[in-house]
Amino acid sequence: MALREGPTRPLMDVWFKNDQQGIIVGVFGMILKTSDGGKSWVPILDRIENPNGYHYYGISRSGENLFIAGEMGILFRSTDFGETWEQLILPYEGSFFGVVGNPQGTFVITFGLRGNVCYSMDGGEVWQHKSVGRSSFSGGTWLFDDTLCLVAVDGAIYISPDKGETFKLLSEKFPSVIAVAQSDNDELTVVGLNGVKKINFEK
């Protein structure tokens, strides 16, 4: 089906285990896998149960778990790097636009519509729900020193050094930001519809 449609279905996020193996996810439940560093891709929709074809918006690893978050509050977890997937039920039913977790596996957070976030400190068993700001979150990253950074569509940038307990809003904004990465000890680089910007921050 995917091949017949041709390139009409946008792809939303990508994850690589190493330089050969990776998974890419997209709208209407599209999920593809590669074993040759991206030269060729194979659909693996049969491994994941998404009968309504909800969009996948984010794929991210935290510890030994792989998470996919998407539309209408869906969240899938894989413990075997994408071979099998189980759906988890979260306390929020609105759409998630991304998921991010720490390398140790002790914190994973999904973020999405109108400032809603859900996070778990035990690999996805127990989840909490919070509302941070009013604007939908569009991206996030884990910073060097075990700190979370989330960005929202109105340009707000949040830092949480305490695993979601508190969120601090940076004074500098970058409207229509889509993604963030840490480029230096005290510097973030953000990208979005208005281009690229470097932002200094303190914890």
Binding site: G6, P7, T8, P10, M12, H55, Y57, E71, E93, G94, S95, F97, L113, R114, S136, S138, V153, S176, I178, G192, L193
Partner: protein, 817 residues
């Protein structure tokens, strides 16, 4: 007899020579006899003077009739007449105007609070009242009126359940703090910040789209009335804490018409100054009054005739009467001088008037003819207002010919000239040591002539070097028709700085059949053009229907920014296209606008956009997808710049060719024509050099300056050259003496002409309308400098070029002074 020494400090000239000026080569009119002078009177003279009472009555009746017509004239300002409607870009615009709703003819009323921000009960109350007042102004399209208070101003938000939305000012608004806070929240959610709410939150805008046809009167919108009503609203609501700024094309037109009415005041000032000068020069009230009457008659007739032909008064054509008045005054001086000299010789007022007529009507006609050429050539420029000037001025010149060469002589034959004045003139002509003329006559000799030529060459080279920086179009921000510190432009600057919009909009029209609008190729091509345009210096932003498609795509996916992209699925594209707002892109129209917002409307910026789009179009246009230029005020200006630049070259060549040819025909000698025309070229070049220094570009208003400056400027040269040759060749004086004599007679008239013409146009420099001020400045310079050129450079050129007295032939009937 005069000495013909090579150089002499003292000029020795017998006063008797002065009387001989009235001799034509063939006939000898001796005066003092009673009726002999009637012999040899040409037909026109006999006709005119034998029935002078009849003609006088006719002229008075005509003046009254045309005066009545003149008072019916209304000021007008038609946009279409100021742009080159034959240019392909403008043709594209006019053909597709109906579909370009996004451009809209609207007025923006910005209500600013100087205390705090707009989220207060007081501000919102005031805004509501103003919105209501604007609603009732005739000509406003009520259904499309937009402000914070209108129901169409809404916020929408994406929620779990889909879209949520409402009016920014909710129906249950009650002025309480909660209500006001709610409005604040809604504004933040509405996306209107930067659009109708300022970025600094200190003002908001009421957008009032206008109807082209006033629904109540069924006639085209009366811009002046509309502007007045809007101004009344401004006056009503402005106070210590509320300031109102208004922009929009209708306001520009209103301000133009308003500024034009002050032109009448300038005319009065010029009139009185000239009247004073005439009196001061002659000290004769009678003849001054007669000359004033005939010159005013010229203005009345010109305007009356224009009205009969259906013309109104636009900011360009209303300047023509000034020129006609000045021309009338300057030609009237020739008549006056001639009559005075005859009366000095003993003729009575009727005789003197007849003789003056006899001497002047042919040279007068010839000079007016050359004036006319410059104006007539303006018809080659296909811009309405310039052609209006051409028609108005050509009619004006014919009118001046009748008033100066028929009406005035008759009037002067009744009034005569006072004896005191005759005496004064006698004394002046007899003098041989008038210091200014003595100094100027040096330019006929080698030393000073060389100096004059050297200075001329320096001027020519310097001017040519400077003029390479000559710019086309307008370089100042805001409405180019008005001054930088005019209220309109200050308002415009305020709105540009506090809102995320620019007032310089260049629109490219994507021409594609409605079914192809959502084709992927069309959509991608549009985006590609947008990206190219965004890289250009001077382009602030570009809005296309593709932006709407992308934003709608994202909106339908809960506002996820990753969806702000072009879908490839045909079904999706079609679906999204139907949701694009109708007032940006009517669904069934074959024109989709690409709106380019610019930093400025300088010629370089416009050229960059034009060449980028032309190049893109030539590469990618297909039968079903064409990127057409141009619309929007910046687009129209680009087309106007192109047309003006082309016309400048053409017009300059034509004017000089025509003037040179006329001189060639007159003198049948290349060198003679050169002497007369060469000083004009230096003035033209220097004029353009001044334009670069002062920051005036070549535009619709400055184009006629060349034609008018040269066409009228050549008069001086003709008068002086004729006299000079007459004194040297026919009376046998050396050049220096001949020139002194020329100066003593014609020179004073030439100087007077230069000054009267300059005063006629100089008052425009105070006009609130920038292009009138520019024209005034440049024409003043040209008239004065042409005068200097004729007085200084012409004799120098004659000294070097016309050495052989016998080699010069003149058209004999033209030399009768």
């Amino acid at each position: 007899m005069a000495e013909s020494g090579s150089s002499s400090e003292n000029l020795q000239v017998q006063p008797d020579d002065e009387n001989k000026h009235s001799i034509s080569v063939d006939q000898d009119i001796s005066l003092g006899n009673d009726q002999n002078y009637l012999n040899g009177a040409p037909f026109m003279e006999r006709l005119l003077f034998s029935r002078r009472a009849v003609f006088l009555t006719i002229f008075i009746i005509v003046t009254l009739f045309l005066g009545y017509q003149m008072f019916q004239m209304k000021p007008e300002a038609s946009y279409l007449r100021m742009i080159p409607t034959y240019h392909p870009y403008i043709k594209n615009f006019l053909a597709n105007r109906v579909n370009l709703k996004a451009l809209g003819n609207s007025v923006r009323i910005c209500v600013e609070t100087t205390e705090g921000n707009i989220f207060t009960k007081e501000y919102l109350d005031t805004l509501k009242k103003i919105t209501d007042e604007v609603f009732y102004v005739p000509g406003v399209n009520r259904g499309s009126l937009k402000s914070l208070w209108t129901p169409q101003t809404r916020y929408t938000e994406v929620t779990v359940d889909g879209f949520e939305g409402g009016q920014v000012v909710p129906r249950d608004y009650d002025g309480s703090q909660e209500s006001v806070d709610q409005v604040r929240l809604n504004v933040l959610r509405s996306g209107e910040i930067g659009a109708i709410v300022a970025n600094d939150l200190k003002s908001s805008i009421i957008i009032a789209p206008l109807e082209d046809i006033d629904p109540t009167t069924r006639k085209p919108l009366d811009y002046l009335e509309f502007s007045k009503k809007i101004e009344a609203i401004r006056t009503q609501f402005q106070n210590d804490t509320i300031k109102i700024h208004i922009t929009g094309f209708a306001k520009i037109v209103g301000d133009l018409i308003d500024g034009s009415t002050r032109v009448g005041l300038f005319f009065l000032i010029a009139f009185f100054i000239l009247l004073f000068l005439l009196w001061f020069n002659s000290r004769c009230i009678k003849s001054t009054a007669m000359r004033a009457i005939s010159s005013i008659a010229a203005v009345i007739w010109q305007l009356g005739i224009m009205r009969l032909f259906g013309y109104g008064l636009n900011p360009y054509s209303m300047l023509v009467p000034f020129l006609m008045f000045a021309l009338g005054v300057s030609h009237g001086i020739q008549m006056f001088n001639a009559q005075a000299r005859e009366m000095l010789d003993g003729a009575d007022k009727l005789q003197a008037a007849r003789l003056a007529y006899r001497q002047n009507y042919i040279p007068g006609l010839a000079a007016l003819f050359t004036d006319c050429i410059g104006f007539a050539l303006l018809m080659t420029i296909r811009i309405g207002v310039i052609q209006d000037i051409a028609v108005g001025a050509t009619i004006g010149v014919v009118v001046v010919a009748v008033t100066d060469l028929m009406f005035l002589p008759i009037l002067m034959s009744y009034s005569g000239i006072s004896d005191k004045t005759i005496e004064l003139i006698g004394k002046r002509s007899a003098g041989t040591n008038h210091p200014v003329w003595v100094f100027l006559s040096k330019f006929a000799e080698r030393k000073y002539a060389t100096l004059a030529v050297v200075l001329a060459v320096i001027g020519l080279l310097g001017g040519t070097y400077l003029r390479k920086d000559l710019k086309i179009g307008d370089m100042d921000p805001g409405a180019p028709e008005l001054r930088a510190n005019s209220r309109y432009n200050l308002d415009n600057a305020y709105m540009n700085s506090t809102y995320s919009s620019s007032s310089d909009v260049f629109v490219v029209m994507l021409d594609t059949p409605p079914i192809h609008k959502s084709d992927y190729t069309v959509v991608v091509a549009t985006q590609l053009l947008k990206n190219k345009l965004l890289t250009l210096k001077g382009v602030e932003d570009v809005v296309t229907h593709v932006d709407f498609i992308q934003q709608l795509n994202s909106a339908l996916a809960e506002g996820n920014l990753k969806w702000v992209a072009l879908p490839r699925s045909k079904v999706t594209l079609e679906n999204l296209t139907t949701k694009i707002p109708e007032n940006f892109m009517p669904l069934d129209s074959k024109i989709t606008p690409i709106m380019i917002f610019l930093d400025d409307h300088k010629a370089e910026t416009l050229e960059r956009v034009v060449s980028t789009v032309e190049e893109f179009g030539s590469k990618y246009d297909t039968k079903d997808m064409k990127f057409l230029l141009a619309a929007g005020n910046a687009g129209i200006e680009a087309a106007t710049n192109i047309e003006v630049e082309k016309s400048l070259m053409l017009l300059t060549i034509l004017v000089y060719a025509a003037v040179f040819l006329t001189c060639l025909i007159t003198y049948r000698n290349f060198k003679s024509a050169l002497c007369v025309v060469a000083p004009l070229t230096i003035t033209s070049v220097l004029c353009e050099a001044i334009m670069t220094k002062v920051g005036i570009g070549i535009k619709v208003a400055t184009l006629p300056v060349i034609a008018v400056g040269v066409g009228i400027g050549v008069d001086y040269g003709i008068y002086i050259y004729n006299k000079l040759i007459h004194y040297r060749n026919e009376q046998g004086h050396n050049l220096k003496t001949a020139y002194y004599l020329t100066l003593n007679t014609t020179g004073r008239a030439v100087a007077f002409t230069g000054i009267t013409l300059s005063i006629g146009v100089a008052t425009w420099a105070f006009s609130p309308i920038k292009f009138q001020a520019d024209m005034g400045l440049l024409l003043t310079f040209m008239f004065l400098w042409n005068m200097v050129g004729a007085l200084v450079l012409l004799p120098a050129l004659v000294h070097f070029l016309i050495k052989d007295k016998k080699g010069v032939k003149e058209l004999k009937s033209l030399i009768k002074e």
